[in-house]
């Protein structure tokens, strides 16, 4: 059974419908990318899973449990971690405090998990006492991921983690995502950097105008001329 299953989802904001009949699955431990032209509704898929949009139809289940229309604070307890694209750290809190907030719903601060995040992103340990607002773009992305990892999620949803990063940092970022996935966490990735995302994932979806147009293994999508055309117009 798939960990995350999105079936025939219609969703949007207020009265504006963005997604039309989107179907999508993420298996346990799988690495899935969603790519597509700007404005295709990629981020909206994630926001819908996390209860941040108006769901107009369809069904979302996680580990067999229906989570359609649940509130974000409930969904976070089911084992889904979410890193939004922008404003994803608390700027006036220190790096360590940001991580602690990631584990807010736990009784105590899980020191071992903080250490594990530090192990994954050593720069965060170096900057532990520094305010998150003073970090560079790449460091912020790491901190945001680290915060989402504090609850040890089964599925980590990342919204354009490479946006705004210098090119040399982009592949480093993808390497880190690979490692997170290799350690057993399923990853759902929304990326505008389609090449990199498709090259690394197990499976990919191409979303165009709110509908999933293609679904295949990453490599197959990458070599598909049709898909290429979707990005620069037909």
């Amino acid at each position: 059974m798939a960990a995350l299953e999105v079936a025939d989802l219609d969703a949007g904001y207020g009265e504006l419908q963005v997604l039309e009949g989107v179907d999508m699955t993420v298996e346990d431990g799988e690495y899935v990318s969603i790519v597509g032209p700007n404005g295709a509704g990629k981020s909206t898929v994630m926001k819908s899973v996390f209860g941040l949009t108006t769901v107009m139809g369809g069904r979302i289940t996680f580990d067999g449990e229906g989570i359609t229309g649940r509130r974000p604070e409930e969904i976070i307890t089911t084992g889904i971690g979410y890193v939004p694209q922008n404003d994803n750290v608390f700027p006036s809190l220190s790096v360590r405090e940001n991580l602690e907030m990631g584990a807010y719903i736990l009784e105590d601060v899980p020191e071992d998990r903080i250490q594990r995040v530090y192990g994954r992103f050593p720069i965060l340990e170096e900057r532990a006492g520094q305010k998150a607002g003073s970090l560079s773009g790449g460091q912020r992305q790491m901190l945001a991921m680290g915060r989402a990892l504090m609850l040890d999620p089964e599925l980590l949803m990342l919204d354009e983690p490479s946006a705004g990063l210098a090119p040399d940092l982009v592949s480093e970022m993808f390497d880190r995502i690979d490692r997170i996935n290799a350690d057993g966490t399923a990853v759902l990735l929304v990326e505008q950097n389609a090449k990199e995302a498709l090259a690394r994932c197990d499976r990919g979806y191409v979303l165009v105008q709110g509908q999933n147009r293609y679904e295949d293994s990453g490599d197959a999508l990458l070599s598909d001329e049709q898909v290429r055309r979707e990005f620069l117009g037909g």
């Binding site: 006036s92 809190l93 907030m101 807010y104």
Partner: protein, 368 residues
């Protein structure tokens, strides 16, 4: 989407710079004049010391009150015009308890319950001062905090919670309504009579207080209590999970929500801390002044706003620093201007800050 340049480009930048330069020049001129006055002897060091001490006393109490205003602004995102009346609530509830305890066997029941609404036994007869009735005054302090918290939570439940997403202006207007309803409810119960409720403060002379013969013990109590509470708030905000989550929510409410921070619980904590401090501030102001009136908090509200805006609304440390500056301004300005104009100086300073540096000295947050 984006911030907007309303003033229109370059001309605004230069005018802003001009104003800033003028402010600096004015500050330098005043400082030089102060030195001149001391040098020529038209202002004694003792008088200046007196002004400075009063400035610190006022500043600390404004700061105590300002913390709550700043917190509600940054976490609930509106300018709370009923904050002043939380001070009043604390003052009346706290002193009622202090009077009730200290007046046992001395004053009539109705006087004790209604804080001398009938003009009963004067506080001197009860020896209601900090050294005479320390237990009663301490009990009053605790009740001032607790009852103000309860009332603030009740108001939040009934008024502010349904308006959580209504935006800054409807909330502001509602808070004006709350201010009126609360203040005049107190007036209905206690009457709007201005009256004395504490006995005059003992003096304490010590070489530490070189500028004065003796220091007013009630003022000293205020300074100590305010300092202790401020340090306490600092520790709470910096070193506890609750405090961190409050700062997180002030930073980014949406992110707090998706991180799993229970935002409603944080809002409750905000009211508890903000209202508790406001209640204590109101109570302590009465300890110093000796008299109580239903307009106590309302008349201070603008000064508290001035302090909070000066420091950068939303910043708690800014509120404390801003409050000290306002406290010092309304006292030290007496060197130059008559005493019935000093609050004008403070409001003028507030308006100037809003015009030159709307984000205040310590940054702060954005709302509506």
């Amino acid at each position: 989407m984006s911030t907007v340049d309303l003033g229109g480009g370059i001309s605004r930048l230069t005018s802003e710079r001009t104003v800033r330069a003028l402010v600096v020049v004015a500050a330098v001129v005043l400082a030089l004049d102060l030195v001149r006055r001391i040098y020529t002897g038209s202002l004694t060091l003792g008088t200046l010391g007196f002004y400075l001490w009063n400035g610190i006393v006022d500043g600390l109490v404004f700061g105590l009150a300002g913390i709550g205003l700043s917190m509600t602004y940054s976490i609930l995102r509106f300018a709370n015009f009923s904050h002043g009346d939380l001070l009043t609530t604390g003052a009346f509830s706290g002193w009622t308890v202090a009077y009730l305890i200290a007046g046992a066997g001395i004053a009539d029941t109705s006087s004790r319950l209604l804080l001398r609404a009938d003009g009963g036994a004067p506080p001197g007869q009860l020896d209601l001062q900090i050294l005479g009735e320390p237990i009663a005054i301490l009990a009053g302090l605790v009740v001032a905090a607790l009852l103000t918290v309860l009332i603030a939570l009740a108001i939040d439940r009934v008024v502010y919670r349904p308006l959580r997403d209504a935006g800054g202006i409807p909330l502001l207007i509602a808070s004006v309504g709350v201010a009126l309803a609360l203040r005049y409810f107190i007036a209905l119960v206690y009457t709007s009579q201005n009256r004395a409720v504490t006995a005059s403060s003992p003096e304490w002379s010590s070489p530490v207080f070189f500028w004065t013969e003796g220091v007013n013990v009630h003022e000293l109590t205020m300074v100590v209590s305010a300092t202790v509470l401020m340090v306490g708030i600092h520790l709470l905000l910096q070193y506890t999970k609750l405090g961190t989550s409050m700062r997180a929510m002030a930073d980014n409410r949406d992110l707090a929500l998706i991180t799993g921070i229970p935002t409603e619980r944080v809002v409750r904590a905000t009211w508890m801390i903000g209202a508790g401090l406001a209640g204590v501030a109101g109570y302590l102001i009465v300890l110093d002044r000796g008299t109580i009136t239903i307009n106590l908090g309302w008349f201070l509200l603008l000064l508290i706003f001035a302090a909070v805006i000066l420091g950068g609304i939303g910043s708690i440390y800014g509120a404390i620093v801003g409050a000290l500056i306002i406290g010092l301004t309304i006292n030290v300005s007496l060197v130059w201007i008559p005493s019935d104009m000093n609050e004008i100086a403070a409001f003028g300073l507030m308006i100037l800050v809003l015009l030159v540096r709307p984000q205040g000295l310590f940054g702060g947050v954005e709302t509506a």
